[in-house]
Symmetry: D2
Subunit: 238 residues, 4 copies
């Protein structure tokens, strides 16, 4: 059975900003915050560090940054799905704008992930690409708003609402994460309160002045949103 | 300073044939044989398993199956050179026939490896490609004889001698490994006795009837070659 | 204004089977058949032969086999959209299974085509990929049934009807062409009578025993379908 | 038999700067200059325009900007070697920095070109890459000095002399062209007088204030160099 994050969740990772011990140190800090606020957190980890992070954290849901749709056999330098699963990944990121994929590759890789009960977390760079990606019914989608670069904050929220409505309207079971230039906890709260399942930030934390403070600001706001959403859903007022 | 294998050496790896615990089990068996026969062994490991193998073996020289010529920063799903080094790799395989590279990429990646004191182990698929690859002065070359598929054993040895003479004639410091369809210890001995620095086998071991027996047959013959070469070089006879 | 084929239409091309004079000879024969039966025919032509075919035929609607989403400037060896248009192409084939594209590339190339009023003819290899490709609203789609290889004729027709209903249900203006293993005129007639806008065949003609006879068999059946569809639509019976 | 340019020669092309009629107009102007000064000129032409330029010029030696190492058969959107030859190309450009190739692809494509008696004109981006590329023994090499961007004019000439000596030292029959930031006829003359076989310029002409004047300045200087080299070689003085 797939291990999926429960809404509302948080997502972070290290891209190639840091490596080695610094990855473990960051992962432990994120894990501690996830435990403290009792929130599910997806952690996207370089291939080399998946096992180390999995073995040294409790609450993180480890995500590999990519995998190839191969089966055990030949294929040196490819990323075998069974290998990332054995190392501790529960899901895989696909079609990130730094690693775009063809349609047949997206289809085949999602099929391999489903076969191994790895969840798929797939990016799309625009409204139209979000509609296209949704057809493959990944578990989680991140409609990264490349279209919005240079636009105002207000239109950001309209993009967020549009992509959310669009994806949920087609496939209500797909979890939707927003990860567009998130730099503080207030944004995290706002994005979750309008109905997104998750919010993500990597460079927004790692490149901030005080990464630990930013991390706690963000994850504590996932907690706040979780509590407030529960009140609202049970008929209460905030 | 780069950690290079000392001649004569052995090389093996798992490609994508096995994963997870089976990789560790195989690595430990290879490590035990390397210690028993006191031979340097390069072990090519999937990205996910580099750290696990490095932490659980003593004598293996871990080689990553590829890396990208990037620097710390963006680049999700790429393989950061600093990350494979931090995980325990001492060198990197480049331009394997299952992951061919452009000339500018080969140049840039060898430069990054040199900068980090990772050794480079570069493949070439023919005599002419071996001449081309040698110009970049990698530390170790594997001139995989794609040209020879379907030819006789005799021509194999002539190819082996030709590529060896060719590379050493241009750059005497480049270590030369042969890894063409090696299936037993007698071949290992023969290839080392004509002057090759190393011999490699992955599928020859993993797909054999008794992988452990094949492994010991091969590594013990590296030992035998080492002893016999020493006798010859010190003026003795076999 | 885009020059689109009128339904029901036929499509053929030469892939890389023939070249030079043989392409022109084939194009002239197809053009003569298109004129004889008064049917629109799309002709997919290698880059090198677009202008020659355009200048020596009357009725063919020339389609380039691919283009890059670049603008005039640098880019040696790329296929400039303006260059294929200037040579005489009215449309462009995208995402053929022999030239798959990433989602951002599909989006950008369709945008460039729209800007130049070149129509887009986009392939998809399965029902799910057809749903994804349709989101980009190309002018014509060819849902190539890779999934059906090795299945029976009956399921072929069910796939044909499914993809047709699927695409028209989402975007009624997208023209749908079927091009799956078409080898004779009876199939052409049958596929058009169930509502497809076009039928295509390249190797079905070029690799048949008598290509000219096969060509006429197919195009004459487009004529027959056109007449019969007109009768039906005007309330008549066949 | 291959149709190679005779030294000293000139090379130009249009990349993707212009298209359609403008390509033909430029080609005719270059052809007229080639005839006027009785100089061999290679003209690199987009795939779409090879036949048009070949049919409307007398003296130009047409070069395709790339080709794939395929044989007649499947392969839509690929560039079939037979197709560019049938269109009128005498040679093919390979490994341009805007279209880098893997080592196996360079080898296979040069073999296909040799088989069809198309000459190969191969780029290299540095001294070390020039040594590597030369091993494949293409007919003509262009060692583009990417390494020199931002350096002084003096070191440019030293790079030019180094690459020339390097290539001719290994394979005297390879023709060497220099095409680094050439903007006027004096540079053309200078580069040819030190022993290069050819000089090339595309953007240096097309982006100059008066392209026709620049073109004539350059080609007339090939003529001047040809005359002066003949005098020197026959024992005369300038």
């Amino acid at each position: 059975m797939k291990v999926l994050p429960k809404s509302p969740f948080f997502e972070t990772g290290v891209k190639s900003y840091i490596y080695g011990d610094a990855v473990l140190e960051y992962a432990k800090a994120v894990d501690a915050a996830a435990i403290k606020y009792d929130i599910d957190v997806m952690f996207i980890t370089p291939y080399t560090d998946i096992r180390m992070v999995a073995e040294n954290t409790e609450r993180l849901i480890i995500v590999a940054p990519y995998m190839d749709a191969i089966r055990p056999g030949r294929g040196i330098a490819d990323v075998l799905p069974e290998a990332i699963k054995a190392a501790g990944a529960k899901g895989v990121l696909l079609n990130h704008c730094e690693k775009v994929m063809s349609l047949p590759a997206i289809r085949a890789t999602i099929e391999r992930a489903n076969e191994l009960e790895l969840f798929t977390f797939v990016c799309a760079d625009s409204l139209v690409e979000a509609r296209a990606v949704a057809q493959f019914q990944p578990d989680i989608m991140n409609p990264e708003p490349t279209e919005l670069i240079g636009t105002t904050e207000a239109s950001d929220m309209s993009y967020v609402k549009d992509t959310l409505a669009l994806i949920k309207g087609m496939f209500p079971d797909i979890l939707v994460e927003q990860a567009a230039g998130i730099t503080n906890g207030a944004q995290v709260y706002e994005f979750l309160m309008v109905g997104n399942d998750g919010v993500g930030s990597a460079s927004g934390i790692l490149k901030s002045k005080d990464p630990m403070a930013t991390l706690h600001d963000m994850i504590s706001n996932v907690r706040r949103a979780k509590d407030d959403l529960r009140k609202i859903r049970s008929g209460g007022s905030l």
